[in-house]
């Protein structure tokens, strides 16, 4: 009795597994067959429509082929036409005409209707399509979705709205900044990237937004976004006003805006930046060094010297890099710094000197008329060699042209390492 039950169970299990395997096998075959046919048909239709559309373009207007492109929603032809027209848009050709054509063919309406679906994937897909089509009239349909509680829907909507580049979309996104930035990391990232699509248009809204909200976290996000947008006096003025903020994130982002390309900084502004080189928070100091580097601010040399010995390696390296941009006035700083005992600082300096080819300048100075400059350059190179940063010297011996310098370099190379 017991054995027969076990046998029955095993036989049932075998039969079920056999059945399942057969189903999977059949499903794989059917699916492959169906997909092959579908792809063949789609390829054919795409080829056909591509040809017709290009002919219509050549004849002056793609609207002439509208009748031929019309098809039943959801059909292969519908899909092929959509892909061909979106391809054209991606190539930035006849964008306006293609958008209008997609609307007349019913694509915009079709996807707008799908926005009401309960299924998140279907809804997100429709939002994405509307963004790709780029009809600004879809903005009003997308705006309510900014109040969705699903981060996935929110981020796709933000991206779609940024593609549409409609003012209402921008205003609605900025009005919801705290929700969009605070909802989830995904939405925040989507928001920060999407706003860049609006370019300079976003600046007045972002800078004005800040006037009403003083949440440091939002403010730092706003400044971060401004740092990637084109330079604008309003952004600069906001950034300068925030250099004294109590929040280090805000100070750092304000510096980032100031250090970004295209700003001509007044001496007053650089007076505000320089004290931040001594900020207690390392990432503020780092950002301050980066800003100073962009400004090539000679008065910063002494402060940068201190930062060569910073606890944080990124600050040390960035300071050394900033100093190499200051030209000969950095030589004194490097000379003093390399005489100290801080091996970490010295190595960072040597690496930046070599990486930025400041070492070439030092080697050229070995034949300079100015004796002090010559002596200091020689000493820096000697110290670099002692720290095993000798490749520029070796390269000069191999390929240098000035025999006097070569002799000097050979002499330097014979000096031992005192690491």
């Amino acid at each position: 009795m017991h054995d027969s039950v076990i046998v029955i169970v095993i036989v049932i299990a075998i039969a079920s597994i056999l059945l399942l395997t057969a189903v999977l096998l059949l499903a794989s075959i059917v699916r492959r067959g169906r997909n092959s046919r579908r792809h063949r048909q789609l390829d054919g239709l795409r080829g056909m429509y591509r040809g017709s559309v290009r002919q219509a373009i050549a004849s002056g207007s793609i609207a002439t082929c509208e009748k031929m492109l019309r098809s039943k929603p959801g059909s292969f032809a519908w899909q092929a036409v959509e892909e061909v027209l979106l391809e054209l848009m991606a190539e930035n050709r006849h964008t306006g005409e293609v958008k209008a054509l997609l609307r007349r063919l019913g694509y915009v309406e079709f996807y707008e209707n799908r926005l009401g679906r309960r299924n998140v994937l279907a809804r997100a897909s429709a939002i994405d399509k509307l963004g790709k089509i780029g009809c600004s009239s879809s903005t009003s349909h997308l705006l309510p979705l900014l109040d969705s509680s699903d981060p996935e829907i929110l981020s796709v909507t933000v991206r779609a709205l940024s593609r549409l580049r409609a003012k209402e979309g921008l205003v609605a996104m900025i009005e919801r900044l705290p929700t969009l930035l605070g909802k989830s990391l995904v939405t925040r990232k989507a928001m920060e990237t999407a706003l860049l699509n609006f370019g300079g248009e976003a600046i007045p809204y972002l800078t004005a937004y800040r006037l009403d909200h003083n949440d440091p976290w939002i403010l730092s996000c706003v400044l971060e976004m401004l740092s990637f947008l084109p330079s604008d006096p309003r952004s600069l003025s906001l950034a300068i006003s925030q250099l004294g903020s109590a929040n280090p994130e805000v100070r750092s982002k304000a510096l980032k805006v100031i250090g970004s390309d295209g700003y001509a900084i007044s001496p007053q502004a650089s007076d505000l930046i320089l004290p931040l080189l001594q900020d207690p928070v390392w990432f503020v100091r780092l950002q301050a060094v980066k800003s100073v580097k962009e400004l090539s601010c000679e008065s910063a040399a002494k402060l940068l010297e201190k930062l060569l010995f910073d606890d944080n390696w990124q600050v040390r390296s960035e300071s050394a890099l900033a100093l190499t941009r200051l030209g000969n006035c950095a030589i004194d700083v490097f000379y003093d710094a390399l005489k100290t005992k801080d091996i970490y600082a010295k190595e960072s300096i040597c690496e930046e000197i070599e990486k930025t080819r400041f070492s070439d300048r030092l080697i050229e100075h070995l034949d300079d008329a100015d004796e002090t400059l010559r002596a200091k350059s020689r000493e820096i190179l000697r110290l670099m060699h002692s720290l095993r940063f000798s490749i520029p010297l070796l390269a000069y011996v191999e390929a240098g042209k000035n025999e006097r310098i070569k002799q000097e370099v050979r002499h330097l190379l014979t000096l031992g390492e005192d690491r």
């Binding site: 597994i17 794989s28 492959r32 920060e192 990237t193």
Partner: protein
């Protein structure tokens, strides 16, 4: 005496029946979860913001670490493929781990590199670094020459030299698809919880026709049967094993052939373990341990679309070495982190995943091979029921066939990398054939690994790579 043997055999039979039932139920659950997860992922890809990630300032820099040891045949192609990745900011760091052949010379000559001086900080202790090489033509390529210390040591050295917040480990015998890097980074950019590691799909390179050394021109199946078995195995392992565990956020294995890690977390966890022969798995287990003991939220993810192609062994000797090493690594990883086993402090990892690996993956081969002996013993003592034996074998083999078919089905409904009808049928067929001999020999190698572990033979068994240097790949 006979009575004791009979009691043992009967007891063993009941045990095996229960064991078989539990393990196959787990597989069935993993399969169901994978199916849902993959279907959802495939739909999401259509509107995934890959292009946005590519342009975004939020996309973090990544270092691709390629540890090499006597890989002169493949290293340059691997480096070229990695350099061709479509990613905004990345560097490739090749770590020459004391090669005795011309590996270093080949890379230096091919990419016109010269020795440079560079600050090197030992956040993780490694063997001595002999030099750094870089060149103007490929500013994002750095080659480190160091004393031999093993793959884990080479990876640690690469981590020390890396200046990016994330790194991706890639084997020298592998070929990355162009968008693999941006895809493997997408969970980092697309997650509310910090993603500290992420793995991608690894496929078998043998048989693939490659253009310009770096682009996959045509996907073909090789003629070598051993490789065909491995293709089915890789599809099954990656398409439903890992996807299933990923759905539970309890992945214990990411392939070292192609995985991405958050650098600081790896440093905080102590870097790759030099004594372990499967450093990738041990790292993942330790990352879980480290993060769970901190009580901070984190994710270790696996995604099924970034693809890295890798060479697999073409003969039994090399395959045996590889499989023994993998299993030995699994045992070592579990032993080194045994504190996590059945420890509620480590949540699902400690209470479900680790016990699963111990009782089904580590002990499995032992039970399987013991089972063959018990069958023979039953015959000797005259209690072998041919009816039960045939039924049980049929069930076991059919379940194996079902799992392989399911793996191929998942591949079919998702990425369909093997496009021809012939490929589909051949893969299905080898999914059946692998149950007759291949699976058993695999169990034997795994059992060898258990024995090696017990007797203390835990050295790294090197697997030689043929290199894809024949014209049009190697079929």
């Amino acid at each position: 005496m006979r009575e004791a043997v009979v009691t043992f055999i009967l007891g063993f039979n009941y045990f095996v029946g229960a064991y078989f039932g539990v393990v196959n139920t787990i597989y069935a659950c993993l399969l169901a979860m994978s199916l849902c997860a993959i279907l959802r992922h495939i739909k999401r890809i259509k509107y995934a913001p890959m292009r946005d990630f590519h342009l975004s300032s939020q996309t973090p820099p990544v270092s691709i670490l390629i540890p090499v040891h006597n890989e002169v045949n493949v290293v340059c192609k691997s480096v070229r493929a990695s350099l061709a990745c479509d990613y905004p900011l990345f560097e490739v760091i090749v770590i020459n781990d004391g090669s005795h052949d011309d590996t270093l010379k080949a890379v230096i000559e091919r990419f016109r590199l010269a020795k440079i001086d560079r600050v090197y900080r030992e956040f993780l202790e490694t063997e001595t670094v002999k030099g750094f090489y870089a060149g103007a033509e490929t500013p994002n390529l750095l080659v480190i020459d160091k004393e031999q210390g093993g793959k884990a040591d080479a990876l640690n050295c690469g981590i020390n030299a890396s200046r990016s917040p994330y790194f991706c480990s890639v084997d020298a015998d592998s070929l990355l698809e162009k968008d693999a890097l941006i895809r493997i980074m997408s969970p980092v950019l697309d997650s509310n919880v910090p993603v500290i590691a992420c793995g991608g799909v690894v496929r078998v390179l043998n048989g693939i026709v490659i253009k310009d050394e770096i682009t996959i021109q045509e996907i073909e199946l090789p003629k070598n049967r051993l490789v065909l078995f491995q293709i089915v195995e890789y599809i099954r392992g990656f398409m439903f094993g890992r996807v299933g565990w990923n759905a539970l956020n309890s992945l214990l294995i990411l392939s070292g052939t192609f995985s991405m890690f958050h650098k600081q977390t790896v440093i905080d966890a102590g870097g790759f373990s030099v004594g372990n022969v499967s450093e990738d798995m041990e790292m993942i287990v330790r990352l879980h341990r480290h993060k769970r003991s901190q009580g901070k939220p984190y994710h270790i993810r696996f995604i099924s679309d970034p693809i890295c192609w890798t060479e697999v062994p073409v003969n039994m000797k090399m395959l045996a070495r590889q499989r023994r090493r993998w299993h030995l690594g699994l045992i070592q990883s579990i032993c080194e982190n045994s504190e996590m086993l059945l420890n509620p402090r480590y949540g699902i990892i400690g209470m479900v995943v680790m016990p699963y690996y111990v009782f089904f993956e580590v002990v499995g081969p032992l039970i399987e091979v013991t089972g063959y002996f018990v069958v023979a013993l039953s015959y000797v003592v005259g209690i072998l029921s041919m009816k039960f034996l045939i039924l049980f074998l049929t069930l076991a083999i059919l379940y194996g066939v079902f799992l392989s078919t399911a793996g191929v089905f998942l591949e079919e409904i998702t990425f369909r990398r093997y496009p021809r009808w012939r490929h589909l049928f051949l893969l299905m067929l080898y999914g059946v054939f692998e149950n007759f001999g291949y699976r058993q020999i695999n169990s034997f190698w795994r059992l060898q690994a258990v024995v090696n572990f017990l007797i203390g033979r835990t050295h790294w068994e090197h697997v030689q790579h043929k290199g894809r240097h024949e014209k049009g790949g190697h079929r």
